[in-house]
């Protein structure tokens, strides 16, 4: 590479890092339930060597009724050590994972496309700045780390076709990815088998290294064996799949009356789910139906990318004998499989590997499209127009709309509530009950922001889990953080104690305010200026008096 090329690459990498770090602590403003759980567990590990349930260095982290892949939490420990227990530290691992993906993409392109710098740069730019790529690397999700490890293994796989000993680190990083996110458990294993199958002749030329690589891969999978039969391993899939008899009876329609109806239903459901990931409507127009994981009015790719997408597919198949293209085709075909086994439609976070491969293909399409344009100024004009269009659309959709319209998905009001209680002397000494009926993660989020002593929390939660940490045991996770209790409101008891009840308009209705003699103390507004939470003080004396009068009459 020439100095000029190094400069261009450096500028793009720097820009991709800046886009991921800019206002990382304020957009999104807050932590969703998974982020808060990982953040507090990391804080707890740092302080005590155990998670919030008192389990020492778990193989997989319990989180409410489900389980989280462990690597993100472990990687967050040094971030919290360096930057403290705050939103930035929790988001940081994801942001850095995104940066690693961009770097690895350049390596993959450069190694796989015969050192074609221009094409590789175009692909790197697409991967670095597509909406999905920025969105998912700006909040904490295990999926972004899973993607980083998966993509990071690919340059080694490409190198292993030239120098077989690279097969060892390739296998190691691919195996490691299975501990980062659920989807990678399936994708990595199929990819590993698929890669060996595709390049078997070459790999067999040096059997020793091949066997060593397989052993390394299997060794990285061994920790899964420790929890294989416990329920924790397959808990998530059980919660979201459509294989059960109950789901078939509910959604099977006419197939319920056919012989082999259930098999046909599963085949149909899988086909429709799988195909949805290839639909231009989903890829280029409609955002993910999950508000918390999508940018308003913007899908995972810009709508104009539909044309280079089709051109990219054409070139991918035209040059399908290239090892890189074989690998890409393999990734494109296998990566939507885990998400297609679940009943959630177009669940983007489960398919980041797939979105990465589509970005790569779009990059190929854009490059080939540009090479067909020979008039220099037209080419420059076209590039500038699309860059301007994309930057504007992204800025407006993410840094404006996402910031406002998705703030509640990240617990904005609860964070403001916490700040209000901490800063307001009139309230900081009073007892609070914060309702969690519609915000399960409020407790752990507050524990994290309050930097609540993990030892105290472990004393509350450990007895509930007992020795069933990896089991399917479910319980209501209540948080008592000094003067703040975070749990559902119990109307039969809470109104007879002197305290402040906090909840949204559904948690505390007008009728309940009158009936229980509550007095409005404060209101918390969300970012769109709507009142989202209200705090009411109880009046036990008046309530008891009113009860007494009721009994008399």
């Amino acid at each position: 590479m020439s100095i000029r090329q190094v400069g261009i690459l450096g500028a793009i990498l720097l820009l991709s890092l800046l886009v991921r770090l800019y206002k990382l602590d304020t957009i999104p403003f807050g932590l969703n339930i998974d982020e808060a759980s990982m953040g507090y567990n990391a804080y707890s590990l740092l302080q005590t060597g155990k998670d919030r349930y008192g389990e020492a260095f778990p193989v997989i982290f319990r989180s409410f009724g489900s389980f989280q892949a462990p690597l993100y939490t472990y990687f967050t420990v040094p971030a919290i050590f360096l930057f403290g227990a705050n939103i930035f530290a929790v988001h940081l691992v994801s942001a850095l994972s995104g940066f690693i993906v961009v770097c690895a993409t350049f390596l993959i392109g450069y190694l796989g496309l015969k050192q074609n710098f221009r094409q590789t740069i175009v692909i790197t730019i697409v991967v670095a700045f597509t909406p999905w790529s920025i969105l998912f690397t700006r909040f904490a999700t295990e999926a972004s780390l899973g993607l980083a490890l998966f993509v990071f293994s690919i340059p080694f796989f490409i190198l292993s076709l030239r120098k077989i000993y690279f097969f060892i680190p390739a296998s190691f990083f691919l195996g490691l990815a299975t501990h980062a996110y659920y989807s990678e458990r399936v994708i990595s294993v199929i990819f590993f088998i698929g890669f060996i199958f595709l390049f078997l002749k070459k790999l067999l030329m040096n059997k020793k290294w091949l066997i060593c690589g397989i052993c390394v891969f299997v060794a990285t999978l061994l920790p899964h064996m420790a929890i294989f039969g416990s329920g924790a391993f397959s808990r998530r899939l059980e919660q979201v799949n459509y294989f059960s008899e109950a789901t078939f009876l509910e959604q099977g329609g006419n197939l319920r009356n056919f012989p082999f109806g259930k098999s046909m239903y599963i085949a149909r459901e899988f086909s429709s789910q799988y195909l949805a990931y290839f639909s231009p409507r989903n890829l280029f127009f409609d955002p993910d139906p999950q508000g918390a994981r999508s940018i308003p009015d913007l899908s995972v790719f810009y709508s104009w990318m539909v044309t280079p997408f089709f051109i990219g597919i054409y070139y991918l198949f035209k040059k399908r004998s290239l090892p890189i293209n074989k690998i890409l085709i393999l990734v494109v075909l296998i990566s939507p499989i885990p998400a297609s086994l679940t009943r959630d439609p177009f669940y983007t976070i489960r398919t980041l590997d797939y979105l990465w491969s589509i970005s790569f293909i779009i990059g190929i399409g854009i490059y080939n499209l540009l090479t067909k344009i020979h008039y220099f100024y037209f080419k420059v004009g076209l590039i500038l127009t699309f860059l301007f269009f994309s930057i504007t659309i992204f800025y407006v959709s993410y840094f404006v709309l996402f910031k406002y319209e998705r703030a509640e998905n990240f617990g904005y009001s609860y964070i403001k509530l916490f700040e209000f209680i901490e800063q307001n002397k009139n309230f900081s000494q009073k007892n609070f009950v914060i309702d969690t009926s519609r915000e399960l993660g409020a407790g752990v989020r507050m524990a994290f922001l309050k930097k609540y002593d993990p030892l105290k929390l472990q004393q509350t939660l450990k007895p509930k889990v007992g020795n069933m940490y990896y089991g399917s045991v479910e319980f209501v996770e209540e948080y008592a953080l000094d003067n703040i209790e975070v749990r559902p409101i119990f109307w039969k008891g809470d109104v007879y104690k002197e305290q402040i009840l906090v909840g949204d308009s559904l948690a505390i209705s007008e009728g309940q305010i009158k009936e229980h003699k509550l007095k409005l103390e404060f209101e918390i507004k969300d970012l769109t200026d709507r009142v989202s939470l209200k705090g009411y003080s109880t009046n036990p004396k008046e309530k008891q008096e009113s009860d007494r009068m009721k009994n008399i009459f």
């Binding site: 054409y314 009943r343 177009f346």
Partner: protein, 228 residues
């Protein structure tokens, strides 16, 4: 092995789906036009024939005019009360974050009068390009307020995909132009049109038939190889 009759295959594709029967039931003229258009397009896939191509263009134009007349999406240029409310809310966010970059005349005009219409046109375009719409009645992402219905049996999906792969691989220009033309015209047609995006019907038939022929040929070659 019996020789494959390609005309029978395309006829089986045209009539072996739920969509054509629904169209014929609702509007027999549109149905007949679609059958003719499907046959004409199928004949153009591998070899362009001038006379038939002219006929194809004429039938396509007539059908497009009819569809645009009967199902033009008026909402593209009208803002509903609900949209107006969202527009006003977002106006506040943009004004607060972007300042004069948003509050100048040009940006406001673009925001209020242009961007929403572009968005609706894009919505129509990408909804029509959704393969799930044709094989699974838009499942798993059914659209609110739209009467979804199955158009093709999903068992034909593999043949459609094979056909699509062949079209891309062989760069069949008529198919590509038809796709672009149908997409552009259907952009202006309402998603609520009870017959669905019918201009895509001939295209999907041609692609499925193409895939079927390829698979039959492969099977035939295999059988002959076994005999030898």
């Amino acid at each position: 092995m019996m020789p494959i009759n390609y005309n029978l295959l395309i006829l089986a594709t045209i009539f072996g789906n739920f969509w054509i029967w629904r169209v014929l039931k609702e509007n027999i003229i549109v149905g007949i036009f679609l059958v003719i258009l499907s046959l004409l397009l199928f004949n153009q896939v591998t070899k362009v024939q001038k006379k038939q191509l002219v006929a194809l263009v004429i039938v396509f134009t007539i059908l497009s005019i009819f569809i645009l007349k009967s199902s033009f999406d008026q909402n593209i240029f009208i803002t509903s009360a609900e949209e107006q409310s969202l527009q006003n809310t977002r106006h506040r966010f943009y004004a607060a974050e972007l300042g004069p970059l948003f509050t100048n005349k040009l940006s406001l005009h673009f925001y209020k009068d242009v961007s929403w219409s572009i968005n609706k046109l894009e919505r129509n375009l990408f909804n029509n390009l959704d393969i799930n719409l044709y094989f699974f009645g838009s499942h798993p992402r059914e659209r609110a307020g739209i009467g979804e219905f199955d158009k093709y049996p999903w068992i034909l999906l593999p043949f459609f995909l094979v056909g699509l792969f062949l079209e891309i691989k062989n760069r069949y220009i008529v198919i590509a132009i038809y796709l672009i033309a149908a997409s552009l015209i259907s952009m202006f047609s309402s998603l609520l049109y009870p017959l669905g995006p019918v201009l895509f019907f001939p295209l999907i038939n041609a692609v499925i038939a193409h895939g079927l022929i390829y698979c039959f040929r492969q099977k035939k070659n295999k059988m002959e190889g076994l005999k030898l």
